[in-house]
Symmetry: C2
């Protein structure tokens, strides 16, 4: 059991609808020291892949993406749900369905910040059905950028999103992999 799994086991609440609430270190309070330790795993896995950019999506991925970027020594690019009305940038966009919120939305990046020279590590907080990761991969494909891999803090492995990304030939490293969870029985790790 690693530090992230331990932090989940010690303090997390499983809400009805298979929602795992990780407010004490990830989705409201951000435990920078704990997550930086977690990011060591991303660095071990992808340090030799020539990562030029970390790509995430606002807003809950931004913290962990920045902490990972400190180790990789590269910038973070975060996809936005809304671009300002004053934006005149050429955009790459992809559609994404949010399982927890039950809505479909678009995410976009400015084309000038994601190019065919980029070797991208995609970082996000949660991986369930894999829709957010696949939308971020779609943005990279539109830019002709290379996706070297994905790193997520929590993977709900039983929902299959991680394995469907792995089946695309893209390595996925998750700091905590959940085999099952329920309000009654809590969280069981893989």
């Amino acid at each position: 059991m690693n530090v992230i799994e331990e932090a989940i086991r010690n303090n997390c609440k499983v809400l009805p609808g298979e929602v795992l609430k990780i407010d004490h270190f990830l989705n409201h309070m951000i435990d920078v020291s704990l997550l930086s330790k977690g990011c060591d795993e991303f660095y071990k896995a992808f340090a030799d892949k020539g990562v030029t950019k970390i790509l995430t999506v606002e807003s809950s991925g931004i913290g962990v993406a920045c902490l990972a970027a400190v180790q990789f020594g590269c910038p973070v690019l975060y996809a936005k749900k809304l671009f300002g009305k004053n934006s005149d940038d050429e955009l790459y966009s992809a559609s994404c369905y949010s399982y927890t919120k039950g809505v479909e939305y678009n995410i976009s990046v400015a084309a000038k910040y994601l190019t065919s020279d980029d070797r991208v590590l995609i970082i996000d907080d949660f991986l369930a059905g894999g829709n957010a990761l696949k939308a971020l991969i779609a943005l990279c494909n539109k830019a002709d950028a290379t996706v070297v891999g994905c790193g997520t803090v929590v993977e709900k492995a039983y929902q299959g999103g991680g394995d469907s990304v792995r089946a695309m030939g893209i390595p996925v490293v998750s700091l905590a992999k959940i085999a099952s969870m329920s309000p009654e029985e809590g969280v069981k790790f893989c």
Copy 2:
């Protein structure tokens, strides 16, 4: 001229309506190395103030707050605009008017994460009229937490928000202080 002012001068666009677009290191791409250098100023100013928590608001403040928190060795708490429908937490809320978006909205934190034991450094990306900072200060007052100071990346000094917070007896450190700006003349620093 410091590193942040230099980065603004070299690459920023002033849009109509006094909107400063800082997409290349702050509000879309996050230049982790540059912002970490900037955060040194926050650390110099507040290192001896016993900071226990950095408070910011989603989403564009999260990156710089996390990078500052690495130096202070404390967690980040980010106020949210929407709490999940499953939330059963007691909340502190404050109202905030967004100058750039032209809307009034509420921001909230879970009461259990902000207490009278906390010594809070408030961090945000932009400071203009000061509404976001004042809403974050209001959250701290509701929690009876001590605000040791505020740090912002860019202060539009001519809008007076920074000075109105300073007049409350709260020190404000801004990495770039703008005296005036326009699409025609660009940015002038204090």
